[in-house]
């Protein structure tokens, strides 16, 4: 069984926001909302200041609190790749999933249901990369199956140092940032 993940090389990301625009175009994200975004983290003291630019989105957690808190089962783990999805026709818009996400990765679509990144599952099931990955001009984003030791993402995580966001929240995030 596949376990999809995204690996993002923060040493290559320039924060151009192509991924954000590609997502909005591909998924008809309503104006004023976004499923992915750029975070710029500055740490250290001059002259040893570090800058990390991250393209962030739903972490498609292995233990997603949004799924366990959903009262109707609208938020669920997809059969393919463990991707966390929302069934719009089952969502009542109670916002429990929004409150349970430590990444604040979800929002309420103007039509009333909870919305978020889907890893472009409609593209992935056709053998394509998610829209954000496919347009990245610096090729800093990689998508693949962690259960396949020969996949690009598995190899990158073996070879490089990385971190995830908020591992201490205990949700098992599946977006990895190479450092």
């Amino acid at each position: 069984m596949a376990r999809y993940a995204m690996v993002i090389d923060t040493t290559k990301c320039v924060g151009c926001q192509d991924c954000v625009i590609a997502c909005e175009t591909e998924n008809n994200v309503p104006e004023g909302y976004c499923r992915d975004w750029i975070t710029t983290a500055t740490s250290g003291k001059f002259p040893t200041v570090q800058l990390e630019i991250r393209s962030e989105r739903c972490n498609h957690c292995s233990e997603p609190p949004c799924v366990t808190s959903c009262p109707t089962g609208a938020s669920h783990i997809h059969d393919v790749g463990g991707v966390v999805l929302v069934n719009h026709d089952e969502c009542i818009g109670c916002k429990a999933c929004l409150a349970s996400c430590p990444y604040d990765a979800r929002f309420i679509h103007p039509d009333g249901y909870a919305d978020k990144c889907t890893f472009c599952i409609h593209r992935v099931e056709k053998g394509e990369d998610p829209a954000c990955v496919s347009v990245c001009p610096t090729h800093c984003m990689h998508f693949g199956d962690l259960d396949d030791p020969e996949s690009e993402v598995s190899k990158l995580l073996k070879e490089r140092k990385y971190h995830t966001n908020l591992p201490e929240a205990g949700t098992g995030p599946n977006i990895y940032y190479l450092i």
Partner: protein
């Protein structure tokens, strides 16, 4: 570390999470109040006080019915995808406190109706003879009345606990991430209900009894708040920051003034003086307790939404 999120300005999420407005605190307060009223009414049925004609157990279920319906209306108003609300009742999600709550609410109504049937208004008896027949049958069985009392107390406790568990299951908001929140909301619900009955009870003995009980509930509530804050302060940095929102931060003024002093300490003092016959009973004390209960829900919900994890590398 300075972290800047650009391009994201999602409504209800940025600049900080604020998805739940007035509806959820109002719902949690009314749910807690009804839970307390069910426990009090259930106790009076169980203990035999229902034999007194002016016992509050005869009118509390009617008021509970109205308050719970108003609470559920507030909850419904909060939903963003209202036309799919029925989906709550096509499934039961064991991991979701909201799913538990929606089914508990469905169970509460028939129990309230059973309690209401014990004393029917004269006009209802005349118009619907079948209800009169059922009521007479129920009143002829002491054991049945006691059992209705037990079920009232049990479901009331479930309802009161659920209002707290609903929030504390959401670990992404550090302020709510405490296993004692259910006890705080249960005690606050009991205290609010005792104050409410104290305010409206026709029976003098009940007023005195509930004033004394309310003092106990308020002391326990204060103790639980203290334990909750200690638990947060000695936990991780994010939990400490969450506690500081109440102790000295953004929500400190309203927490100390309206929840602790006006909602607990002042009414506790007034009621202690009253039950020791130093002053006359005053409606001010129960009104302050109820006000404090409402503001407690608002503070906990809003401060909880504001509290968050932050990324440290």
């Amino acid at each position: 570390m300075l972290e800047l999120t650009t391009t994201r300005h999602n409504e209800l999420i940025d600049p900080f999470f604020h998805a739940w407005g007035w509806e959820i605190p109002v719902y949690l307060f009314l749910g807690g109040l009804v839970a307390g009223m069910m426990i009090i009414s259930g106790y009076f049925l169980f203990s035999g006080r229902y034999k007194e004609t002016d016992c509050s157990c005869y009118y509390l279920p009617r008021l509970s019915f109205i308050f719970l319906s108003l609470g559920m209306l507030a909850l419904f108003l909060d939903l963003e995808h209202k036309q799919y609300v029925w989906r709550l009742y096509t499934t039961f999600r064991v991991t979701s406190p909201m799913s538990w709550g929606s089914w508990i609410l469905i169970l509460v109504y028939p129990v309230l109706i059973a309690n209401m049937l014990l004393r029917l208004p004269e006009t209802t008896k005349q118009k619907i003879p079948l209800l009169k027949k059922i009521s007479d049958k129920m009143n002829s069985s002491h054991n049945l009345i006691r059992n209705i009392g037990v079920i009232n107390m049990f479901l009331g406790a479930m309802l009161g606990m659920y209002t707290g568990i609903l929030l504390s299951s959401l670990g992404a908001r550090p302020l709510w991430s405490t296993s004692i929140l259910w006890l705080l909301f249960l005690m606050s619900g009991l205290s609010g209900a005792a104050a409410f009955v104290h305010l409206i009870a026709k029976n003098v003995y009940e007023r005195e009894l509930l004033a004394k009980a309310d003092n106990g509930f308020l002391i326990i509530e204060l103790f639980v708040i203290m334990l909750m804050i200690i638990g947060l302060v000695v936990s991780t940095q994010v939990h400490k920051e969450a506690a500081m929102l109440l102790l000295s931060g953004r929500y400190a003024a309203v927490f100390w003034v309206f929840v602790i002093f006006i909602g607990i300490l002042i009414p506790l003092l007034l009621q202690l003086l009253a039950v020791n016959h130093k002053i006359h009973h005053t409606p001010l004390a129960p009104i302050l307790v109820i006000t404090g209960g409402i503001i407690l829900r608002f503070v906990i919900v809003y401060a909880g939404e504001y509290s968050h994890w932050f990324i440290v590398k």
